[in-house]
Structures are given as structure tokens and as C-alpha cells.
């Protein structure tokens, strides 16, 4: 007996009238840490226990307003900023059309959020190891009795006086509730082998399942029917055409849309003489040239055109763009190299548009100028 720790003294009553009176008396006696347990909410108890009105409504309000704000801001961001698109002639921020989703998210967040707040912060649930659990007291108040429980922690708690009080109220049964020794001393061990094994199994099942679904399942029938269509895929064989290729070359004389025929393919000197750069050395054009130079030219020629890229030594070394010869070349001559290629360098006519080629030429000129700056460039 002495090694057990008292949690509370409880009393059971038979009728809602008795429990109302008991609640009132216990409250008036000045007890703070006590509780009334009833199988259903008994009206009038709250005022007798002097409970403050529930503040859950404020949480519902706050959560609901945040739901509305989150929904509206999210829709505003997706539909007006991240991927603006005109749909049905509506403005990007089509408020009337956003109302239904705003309403639903408001209700969702407010109701689910308030419930969670109540369960976890107001009630401190889940709590299956409370001392009142598994007692005769709990089994009775679950069905048809009405109970009061005064905790030993209450500042004015005195076991004998509490029992006398209950007896004077006409309690049917008075019971002492003790802490469950085992539960008090129980330590949750996070590194318990069973728990680790459990986590391990979860990790395997989740990752395995995800891998299987994304990499195997979606390529099985019927999930892959969209992949398997009655058509010939590029880069495959076919016996429809004599040459066995699925892809067809364009008909002779086809000119792709936007193509400007290049007249100086075999005559670099003429290109140098006749072509001139249509672009002005504006900041915008230079930025474009830099971007394209870094993408297409720098892998061999290096970021500053010095021919010092990381490929240096693996191929015939790319020439520096700062040689005397190149500085002397006309713009059109450099353009010609980009257009047609030279030695091991392939043509870049397909990868770059007309503007981009000339922008690169501009940028190369800027790089050359940077190494041979004149006195008056500083101005």
C-alpha cells in the first residue's frame, strides 16, 4: 500500500441531479484539480464547475481565415504569376471563379485543424495510460454512473476530508485510484530492436513499393498502352521503305521555314568581305552572345577564347581567338567559321539562329578588345 502512489479519490453517483450537486459542492470547496466523468454530456455541469466558455471558436476562426488566405494566395500565384494563362476569357486573377475552392479549403482547414487542436492541445490525447483507465470507476462512468475524481495533487487535498465530503454527498461508492507502477516506471526505448526492425520494414516496403510502381508497374499492361501505339518510332527499322530506315530525309530542294540560304559556303574570303554584322554592340546583344558563346564555343575555346578549355590535350588543340590572324579577320570571316565550320570544328548553323551567330561574333570582338584595351576605352 505505502509504495503505491495515490492519483485521486473518486466517488460514483447514480443520477444526473446528484452529480450536478456534487460538482457544485466540490467546486465551492475550492478544489481545482478535479474532474467529473459522465457517460454523456450532462447539461449545466459546466457552469457548476465554473468552466470558462470554450475557446475553440477562436481557433476555428483563425484556421478558417488562414485557409481562405492560403487558398486565395496559392491560386493567385499559380494562375497569375507562375503560369499565367487566359482561360475562358477570364482575367488571370478571376476572383469569382476562385471562390468555390477558397470556400472548400477554408472549411477543410477550419474543421480538421480545430479538431486536431482540440484533441492534441486541449485534451492531450491520445493518452491510453492515464491512471483512471482500466479502473472499476471508468467502467462504471462509461455506462450509467456519474463520477467525481479529486486528484491528490490538489493543494487542499486531504484523503480523509475528501472521503467525508463524498460520503456526505451520498456517494454510492468511493474508490482510491493509484498510479500504475509499471506505467510510471515504463521507459519508451527508441532504440528497442523491435522498433528499429519496424522502421526498417516500413522503409523497405515504402521504397520498394515506390520503385516498383514508378519503374516497373507503369510499364506493364494496361498501363503502358499509351506507349505501345500503331506507329513507327524514329530511329527504328522498318521494311516499308527500301533503305530500311523509319525516318525519311526531306524531299530534294526542301527549304525549312525561316532558312536563309548561305551563298559563300566555299568562299570564306568573299564572306569576310561582303558580310557585315547587323547587330549593334548593345548590352543585350553582348549578353546573348556571351550566353551562346559559353554554351557552344567555350567547351573548346575556353570561357575567354584563349583556347584553354578542359578539353585541351585530348583533341587537336583549339586555336586561341586572340591570335593576330583572328583580330585582323573581318566579322563576316568569323561568321563563316561558325556557319560552315573549320578543320575539326563542325558547323553550328543548325544550333544557332542568325541573330545568335552574329551576337557571338560581337562577343568574340569584345573578348579580343578586352585583352588589347586602348587608353581611351577607360573613359
Amino acid at each position: 500500500m505505502s509504495d503505491k502512489k495515490l492519483y485521486s479519490i473518486t466517488a460514483l453517483f447514480n443520477t444526473p441531479d446528484e452529480i450536478s450537486k456534487a460538482a457544485e459542492v466540490v467546486t465551492n470547496e475550492g478544489f481545482k484539480k478535479f474532474d467529473v466523468n459522465t457517460p454523456y454530456p450532462v447539461h449545466g455541469l459546466s457552469s457548476r464547475m465554473k468552466l470558462k466558455p470554450s475557446t475553440l471558436g477562436y481557433f476555428a476562426l483563425a484556421l478558417g481565415l488562414s485557409g481562405a488566405a492560403i487558398a486565395l494566395l496559392f491560386m493567385y500565384w499559380t494562375m497569375s504569376i507562375d503560369y499565367p494563362m487566359i482561360i475562358g476569357g477570364k482575367p488571370f486573377f478571376a476572383l469569382p471563379a476562385f471562390i468555390p475552392v477558397t470556400f472548400e479549403v477554408t472549411v477543410l482547414l477550419a474543421s480538421v485543424g480545430t479538431v486536431l487542436v482540440m484533441l492534441f492541445f486541449f485534451f492531450r490525447l491520445p493518452n491510453n495510460s492515464h491512471p483512471l483507465h482500466d479502473t472499476e470507476y471508468m467502467k462504471k462512468v462509461s455506462v450509467d454512473k456519474f463520477g467525481v475524481s479529486i486528484e491528490a495533487k490538489d493543494p487542499i487535498f486531504d484523503a480523509e476530508k475528501v472521503k467525508q465530503l463524498f460520503a456526505s454527498l451520498g456517494a454510492e461508492k468511493i474508490e482510491e485510484i493509484y498510479y500504475d507502477e509499471e506505467e510510471i516506471n515504463h521507459k519508451h526505448k527508441i532504440f528497442e530492436p523491435r522498433f528499429i526492425a519496424f522502421l526498417f520494414v516500413i522503409a523497405i516496403v515504402v521504397s520498394g513499393g515506390t520503385y516498383f510502381t514508378l519503374n516497373k508497374l507503369l510499364y506493364m499492361s494496361p498501363f503502358n498502352f499509351m506507349l505501345d501505339q500503331h506507329r513507327i518510332n524514329p530511329q527504328t527499322k522498318t521494311n516499308i521503305f527500301a533503305d530500311g530506315f523509319a525516318m525519311r530525309p526531306p524531299v530534294d530542294g526542301t527549304v525549312a521555314r525561316g532558312t536563309i540560304p548561305y551563298l559563300y559556303k566555299d568562299d570564306p574570303e568573299k564572306a569576310g568581305m561582303l558580310l557585315s554584322n547587323p547587330l549593334l554592340a548593345t548590352e543585350e546583344n553582348l549578353a546573348l552572345g556571351q550566353k551562346k558563346f559559353n554554351t557552344f564555343c567555350s567547351p573548346c575555346h575556353g570561357y575567354f577564347g584563349a583556347g584553354d578549355s578542359r578539353l585541351n590535350g585530348q583533341f587537336p588543340n583549339p586555336p586561341s581567338l586572340h591570335s593576330e590572324k583572328l583580330i585582323q579577320w573581318q566579322d563576316g570571316r568569323i561568321y563563316h567559321v561558325i556557319q560552315v565550320g573549320q578543320n575539326i570544328m563542325p558547323s553550328y548553323s543548325k544550333q544557332l539562329t542568325e541573330n545568335e551567330k552574329w551576337a557571338i561574333v560581337l562577343y568574340i570582338r569584345a573578348l579580343q578588345r578586352a585583352l588589347n584595351a586602348k587608353e581611351d576605352d577607360l573613359k
Binding site: S20, D35, V42, L45, F74, V101, S111, M118, F223
Partner: protein
């Protein structure tokens, strides 16, 4: 006959004791299911299996196996969706709206009706998903940051539906669970077997029947009812937007939202009434789910049925009064065109037969109300069929006109949806208390302190 209106009518007959109520409601959970249960389960599972096979064939070969065609691109799938969402509405109406109106007679039926809501919405939710044809790609219905940098179209009624139905399901489920929590605690405290006790303990979250908890619990119940009320009205409103926001004649009408909500409550009550007639008999709950309750449900069906009937009339009136010849053609076509038979099935089942509920004798006759309830559900299913299929089958150009005939797979999936719903219901009756134990105790005549009676 003089009635004393100052005395509150008992909603539970015979004034049983708390423990008698407790025993009666939890008895089905203690006993092993009998033969009748397995027989019923066999029937519903066969229906579910039929649906599953038809659905499997649909997934393999695509929605081409259905009777859909061009122009009728929506048919049984969407009809069933609207039908089942509608069935769900009665539960929320009973649990939330009647709660706000302090209708204490709802107590006996609220739990079961809420359960039906959840199962009906689950059944309904399947249809838009399978209607996409490739349900494994349905994740794209949700706005999540994906590799395409695309977002869903928040201005589309179909997307509003995604939000409305999923919110509706979640909130209904939370509402249901909050109501169940004290009952789980009750079952936990009376459980004999260890496994049951563990399961109930987990679901009760350690509820202690504490008044300090009941105090907030009653508030959350009020808050949830307050949110669920506009929510349930919004859900069928948004479902009706799927049609009303389009510009098709016969769909593009402002009467749709109230008309759909009334129809949903109408069909939902018919379904709840039908099922409860069996439940009260099988589980000996005639004094908890009283004849008075059933009569009140029939009155609500009479009210909502008349509202639906008014909407039928008003649609015709506006089609004529609005002076739009295309609109008028659509409505004449509904009543006298290819699908005239379905229109008249709808009118007779929804408008004529429920009017019999004006008579108290029919209102309180179990057999009569059951038959009318079934007819109402037939009629409401056809209502959705009429709205969707007649409008679509007459496209703007006569050269594009078509005719929809359901295939065996359409019918199989319809049967399967009933199989799913009733299988879930049957399992529910054996795993959870079909009537709220705590709530029924609270409305017994001797449940509240005398000086507080009538609060």
C-alpha cells in the same frame, strides 16, 4: 384531441435505462454474425464482384467498352457520381443541419446516416476517377508541383468538384469519428477480449468521459455542424456547376444549385429511410429509431420532393418564358423525344408518388413508405440520367445528334456501385455501433438534471 405542447416529446420510446441502451446498441458487436448476415453479404459481394470485373475490363480496353459516344461523352459514370453524392447528403443534413435546428429526433439515426454519407461519397468518388479512363494518372487532378511546371485550372468547375468532394469526405469522416470517440471508449471499457480492447483503445485515443473534455466536445460538435451545413450545400451546388457553368441548353440554368441540393436531400432521405427500416427491425431498435422518426423523414421527403417537382415545372416555364427556341427544344425533347420514357419515370417517381405522404396512414405505413422510398431513388437516378443524356444527345448541329445505349459494362459498374455501398454498410453494422450510444443516452427522459430540463 388535446396535445400538451409545453411538454417535450420523448424521442426514445419506453424510457429504457442507460445500461439497457448500452447493451442493446453494442450487442451486435459482441455476437457472431448469423446466417442472414452472411447471406446478405454474399449478395452484396457478388454485386461488388460484378462491378469489379466490369471495371477491370474497362481498365484493360478503355472506356470504349461503355456506351459513351460522340456527342454523349458523359453518361452512366457521371450519372452514378451525381446520384451517389446526392445519397450522401442526407447524412450530413441529419447530423449537422438538424443538429443546428435542435431536432432531437435526429439522435437515433444520425450515426447511421453519417456512415451512409461516408460510404456514398466513397462510392461516388470512384466514378470521376474511373471516368478519366486511366485512373492511375488521376494524381494530376491535384495541384502539386510537378515536372511539367503545370498547375490545375482553378477556374474549372470540374476542379472545384475535386476540392468539394474531397473536403466533403474528409469533414464528414472527421465529424463521424468525433461522434464515435466516446462510443469507442465505452466499448473499450466493456470489451472482454484483449484484441478488441486494444483496437478500441487505439480508436478511443484514451477518451475518459471527462466533463472538462465534454465541455469542449460539445463546442467542437457545434463548430463542425456549423461548417458542415454550408459545406453540404456547397457540394451539390458545385456538382451542379459542372453542368450549370457550361453553356449547353438544358444545363445552363441558375435554378440548378438549389434544385440539385433539394434533389440530393430527397434521394438521400429515401435511401436512409429504406435502410433504417431494416436496421430497426433486425437490431430490435424500434424504440430508438421510432415510427415518429420515420414519419418525420417522410415529411422531409415530401418537402424536398415538392421542391424538386417545382424545379421541373419552373425549368419548363423558363424555357418557354425565356423565349430561347433552342432551350425550349431541349425541354420538349426531354418530355417527348427519344428519352421520353425516362423523363416520365422521373416525373412519376419523384413528383407523384411522394405526394402520397400527405396522408398520415401512408406516412406511417412501413411497407408503403419503403416502396415509395425505392421509387424515389429510381426516380432520382433517372433525373440525373435525363439531365445529362438528353442534353448531350442533341448537339447544336442535327448532323451531330446521337443516341446513348448503355452496354453490359455500364450496367455492371452501376450494380457494382450498389454492391460496394451495401457491403460497406453491412460491415459497418457489425463493427461499429450503428446508433450513437452517448448521444442516445443524453436524450433519454431521465438523462438531464431536472432543474435543467428543457435546456
Amino acid at each position: 384531441m388535446s396535445v400538451d405542447y409545453t411538454r417535450e416529446v420523448s424521442v426514445i420510446e419506453g424510457n429504457p435505462s442507460f445500461s439497457a441502451v448500452n447493451e442493446l446498441i453494442s450487442r451486435p458487436l459482441d455476437e457472431r454474425p448469423d446466417k442472414k448476415f452472411y447471406f446478405a453479404l454474399a449478395i452484396t459481394l457478388s454485386m461488388l464482384g460484378t462491378g469489379a470485373v466490369c471495371l477491370g475490363i474497362t481498365f484493360w480496353f478503355g472506356t470504349g467498352v461503355w456506351g459513351l459516344n460522340n456527342p454523349v461523352g458523359w453518361a452512366f459514370d457521371i450519372v452514378n457520381f451525381v446520384f451517389w453524392v446526392g445519397i450522401g447528403h442526407a447524412g450530413t443534413l441529419i447530423s449537422a443541419i438538424l443538429f443546428l435546428f435542435r431536432q432531437r429526433w435526429r439522435t437515433g439515426i444520425a450515426r447511421f446516416a453519417e456512415g451512409m454519407t461516408i460510404f456514398a461519397v466513397m462510392t461516388a468518388g470512384l466514378f470521376p476517377l474511373i471516368h478519366t479512363g486511366r485512373p492511375w494518372l488521376d494524381g494530376y487532378l491535384l495541384p502539386y508541383p510537378n515536372q511539367h511546371h503545370l498547375w490545375v485550372n482553378f477556374t474549372s468547375p470540374l476542379l472545384w468538384d475535386v476540392f468539394a468532394v474531397s473536403t466533403y469526405f474528409t469533414v464528414s469522416f472527421v465529424f463521424w469519428y468525433i461522434g464515435l470517440m466516446p462510443d469507442f471508449a465505452n466499448l473499450r471499457d466493456r470489451a472482454k477480449s484483449r484484441i478488441k480492447k486494444i483496437i478500441y483503445s487505439i480508436f478511443s485515443l484514451g477518451w475518459r468521459h471527462s466533463h472538462r473534455h465534454w465541455h469542449h466536445y460539445e463546442m467542437i460538435y457545434l463548430i463542425l455542424a456549423g461548417f458542415a451545413t454550408p459545406l453540404v450545400l456547397s457540394v451539390h451546388t458545385i456538382v451542379s456547376f459542372d453542368f450549370a457553368v457550361s453553356i449547353l441548353p438544358g444545363w445552363h440554368t441558375t435554378i440548378f444549385p438549389p434544385y440539385f441540393v433539394a434533389g440530393a436531400v430527397f434521394s438521400g432521405f429515401a435511401m436512409v429511410q429504406n435502410v433504417l427500416i431494416f436496421i430497426r427491425k433486425i437490431f430490435n431498435m424500434e424504440h430508438i429509431i421510432t415510427m415518429d422518426t420515420l414519419e418525420k423523414m417522410n415529411k422531409i421527403m415530401l418537402l424536398t420532393g415538392s421542391m424538386v417537382g417545382y424545379a421541373y415545372g419552373m425549368e419548363f416555364f423558363i424555357a418557354w418564358y425565356g423565349g430561347n427556341p433552342i432551350e425550349f427544344f431541349v425541354f420538349v425533347n426531354r418530355a417527348f423525344g427519344d428519352y421520353a420514357w425516362s423523363y416520365w419515370v422521373m416525373v412519376s417517381c419523384n413528383l407523384l408518388f411522394p405526394q402520397l405522404f400527405w396522408f398520415k396512414k401512408i406516412r406511417t405505413n412501413i411497407k408503403a413508405m419503403f416502396v415509395i422510398g425505392v421509387l424515389v431513388n429510381v426516380g432520382m437516378w433517372f433525373e440525373r440520367f435525363v439531365i445529362i443524356v438528353t442534353t448531350l444527345s442533341r448537339d447544336f448541329l442535327p448532323s451531330s445528334w446521337g443516341f446513348f445505349t448503355p452496354t453490359i459494362f455500364d450496367l455492371g459498374i452501376l450494380i457494382g456501385s450498389f454492391g460496394l455501398f451495401f457491403t460497406l454498410l453491412l460491415l459497418f453494422t457489425k463493427t461499429l455501433p450503428v446508433v450513437s450510444i452517448a448521444e442516445v443516452k443524453a436524450v433519454l427522459d431521465h438523462a438531464q438534471p431536472k432543474h435543467h430540463h428543457g435546456e
